[in-house]
Subunit: 346 residues, 4 copies
């Protein structure tokens, strides 16, 4: 019963096999290998556009580097106040942009509403005394497991582009968003105005690889330099590429995300029927946020359930439960049983 | 006959097996897994000291982050003018230190001589108008395949410490240096005054992992923050750690380096007897630098030999030939035969 | 009737005379002149402690450099959300700290309350995933012309120090705060836990000089380097120093600030009696924030009153009126007359 | 007899008068005053082109900010190894560019020769492993008091532009260069391919102001933001502007530089006839570099002559003697008499 994060999961067997298969003989380093070219092509095919594609080792690097390509050091990045780029990257965007400022916006469920964005943009009236608004970063699925639809993305992108800004999507859980939406990946990205996407794989079954995808290819001009000086040019490039190839082959990425989403749905459905438990949001991806009575929380932890308390009030704990492709039905059932038992005992 | 680099090689089978073995069930992310703890312990045992150990994805990241822990943004890093940190990292040390300046020193074979270091340090007489000398970075084995002995390291470290500076060793090919020296790893590092080591594994049989090892533990205080904001905190920490564990287990790392060094030695011995070819240096690690007559160079390339021309004169090309644990005897023999044939034809 | 800012004012004649007097013969550059030494001594005497004192050209530089001495690049600076360092310096603190993050706190009248600070500090539970809280920056007088008392400063400093953070005071209008408090400068700074002060002079009668004063001298170790690389080491050091000497001599700074405060008080008293106008805050320094009916605002502007609208609602405009030592009684009277006339017309 | 630097000099009386004249009444801050507009116009007239003009407080800031407008953080700045930007700014260019690397070039008398530049540019063959060459910075007059002619500047600029780089001229002593050349300022700047000029005034009679002049106006797009976040937006903008206006009015700047150059020439002529003394270079601006026998050096210092020893050999000291508009004939004569006396005594 480990719901601590999706990155506790192992690597999908198909991806492990791809790594083993790539481990044969010599291959030119630094991305000048066949796997890297093939994986980039596979992503272009998946997104139905001639995007520029770069692989990096972590999601934090993907986000921070993507932002650095659209934000000058005197720029501002508008993002949700609880966005990973603002709260969980220890200042990586500030480092890679050379000191840009992340400007936090409020919003329910990790979403930015167009009117919040518009209001904040209207406040940039002091010229060079303020940073220059340069990028909008939205997370899909959000940190609260909510999903922006293509229309919602387009509404935010439209405002950002009008203001001369670029649009970045943090897709650490992009697979879960697309699995929920059931749309083509293009619909919720470049067709909705996204200039650059951090396309996550690590949380969803890979060993450790993320892609920075520039739909707006003008932004990619010097990205090779940015990636290299960030220490993110992986010398044996065939291995991250082989992971990515296996990840998108035959829809494996969506199959895994679908399983994770289904597990979250099942958890949520069960908790919705558990007296005392209150869902904070209806999950749309692979995260369940649920307010638990303290007694239930303590009983669950005592029984070995692993998850992070996200917030607390006097009487309740908001638990974050993250599922993955590897989440077992038995884990979900056991968790729900324990919660039900605690509810009865209360 | 690919001698382009040591990172063209595949992953050693024992390391692939270790990755597969680690791929079982859930494990806490971000280094809070058993493999990470065990791998750090293994490195402490190897170096016979309570060092602080951190894993990162690339050698460039290892170097730049290690330097950032000992160099303020207004600091200077003294390094050989052809050191990787100065010429091949696209400014990563400048990025991670926040703008420190690398101050190049001359020296034969990629080595810094103590008198060169002393002379440069004597030039810091203008206080805050100059950067503050903060770190000495030496590469062992050097970019020219030469090896500093423990005494040589100690002489340089002594000067650096007297000047209040830290000492960093770029050990991208540390295994090759130790295999050549035949000494304990401790002898040529902390016992010789090294404060921090970039301990490379990727070029010598790993898939992609390097360790930053702080022998001077005072430097490691906030390194978790530095690594995270650099996008180098790998979420599924068991995989880099499992690589490193297998790498040092039962001396695999030295066995692999020994094989690479032997291949280089064989290449050098053969070339020394090839009329027209002139060794630039007697190789001490896994790199051979040899001046080839242009005709010989062209014949070799035409026959499919892959390597980088490092410098050129009118009549000669200095070739860099890099070997690895995976270099085949047949490749070496074939290369020497082709060179001999070209010599006869000349 | 120009209430746009305090830096619209000219230079006080005594300071102009000091500049002229300093303009005689040769003097060693870069602060190695007698004026610089004397001015530093004068500030030490004024603050009754052996502080380290450095002169810079602007308030933005003073703030950003002071913060850089207590905040690592992976650090966080807690500040009021409307603090100058957060909203009006175009990212200078981010630049000079190497990418630290300013973490905005709410608070009425530009003040941070201890409970707000404590609540935010309690949120730092994710280790290296978040920035490391490193500095608290408070502004006295605040951006809304409110003044922290020594006890209020001490309460905030206490929390910051407990959390291992340094305390910075932005004193762009420090003179106005002290003139209001009537206490010794030491009382509201180092005796209340302030580690570093940006001691402003430019807004209060100087031509262009600010001091960074480190009461905590450990922070000043390498500040000469920080200032030089920021382009803030003024070569003809006698001129900024001569300004500062004249500024504090015989209490000129407090006399000027007192005049500015009195003008603000008079404006506020008049507006309080003007039907329709509502003071946003009771002014404690040299700034009046007042909600004006739109008609009154338009009438005032049409009559030539110069000031910034700070916020707007449908029916009202919040005007910011800043006074200085050079504000004339006639300007104040004229403004109040115009407001009264507009009130009668409404 | 103080030849330590040109910034030991006081402010020219005409500039002091201009400051006093500007000190009347209120003026809008941050460059929105009439003086600033007028001074920018005056510089455009002087350079006969619609340049963008920005004032800053120091030469280091002017250089570093100008370079930041043409160099990305992963860029390289090619400069003479003894250029001020490389050796005397404590890493300011690295700070303001976000970590760019200065790549030192050799050259006699502080000059870069076209063949040296071409050779270095030819070494950029490793793509993103190296920094991207982005700017050429040349100093006129050089740190050794030598002057590039318009043709020499054009030759270097041509190479830089071919390589896609911008061209910056450090003109801390631009006045001395133009006084020597006798050409129009335009001839040796934009007509010779210079994109941005640091136009110095402080060393040549101002109190403290430098201009960054962008002849290539595309580079100036966001410079207001860069200057503000560098803490170089001087709030009472009329004062730096008034200095600059007086500086260029009626050719004052060239008159002062001419006097300084003449004093240097007289010193050099006298020393050339002093047995034992050897000029290192024939001075072309306001600096004399002369090898003095140790005994002569000691005698001069004992007699109160102030200057910096620039280099030393066993028997000689290379003295740097800097003159300014304020250098007195009597100082020069006295210095030469003392040298002659020491020569006779030897």
């Amino acid at each position: 019963m480990n719901f601590a994060s999706d990155n506790i999961s192992a690597v999908h067997p198909a991806i492990m096999e791809a790594l083993a298969a790539a481990n044969a003989g010599a291959a030119m380093p630094y991305g000048y290998d066949a796997w890297t070219q093939e994986a980039a092509e596979a992503l272009r095919a998946l997104f139905e556009t001639r995007a520029e594609v770069f692989f990096v080792a972590t999601g934090t690097a993907a986000n921070a580097l993507a932002l650095s390509a659209m934000t000058p050091p005197y720029g501002g990045v508008l993002a949700h106040e609880e966005a990973h780029v603002n709260t969980d990257e220890c200042g990586a965007p500030e480092l890679f942009t050379g000191g840009a400022k992340i400007i936090p916006l409020p919003g329910d469920g990790g979403r930015i509403a167009p009117e919040q964005l518009a209001a904040r943009l209207a406040g940039f009236v002091h010229g060079e005394h303020q940073v220059k608004p340069a990028a909008l970063s939205i997370t899909n699925a959000t940190e609260y497991g909510q999903v922006y639809t293509p229309d919602e993305v387009a509404a935010l992108s439209g405002l950002a582009h009008e203001a001369g800004m670029g649009v970045h999507m943090d897709g650490a859980r992009f697979a879960n968003a697309v699995a929920h939406l059931g749309c083509a990946p293009a619909e919720v990205t470049w067709k909705a105005g996204v200039d650059a996407l951090s396309f996550g794989a690590t949380k969803n079954g890979a060993m450790g690889v993320e892609a920075v995808i520039f739909f707006n290819r003008d932004l990619a001009g010097d990205f090779l330099y940015r990636r290299k000086r960030a220490g993110q040019l992986l010398s044996k490039g065939r291995f991250p590429a082989a992971q990515m190839l296996a990840y998108v082959k035959d829809g494996l990425w969506l199959e895994m995300a679908g399983r994770a989403n289904a597990a979250a749905e099942k958890l949520a459905a069960g908790l919705a029927e558990t007296p005392g438990a209150r869902l904070a949001f209806q999950p749309q991806a692979n995260e369940v946020f649920v307010w638990l009575p303290r007694g239930m929380h303590e009983a669950l932890q005592a029984a070995g359930a692993v998850y992070y308390p996200w917030r607390e009030s006097r009487d309740e704990v908001m638990a974050r439960l993250v599922t993955s492709f590897a989440t077992q039905e038995a884990e979900v059932s056991r968790f729900l049983e324990l919660a039900a038992k605690a509810a009865r005992a209360a």
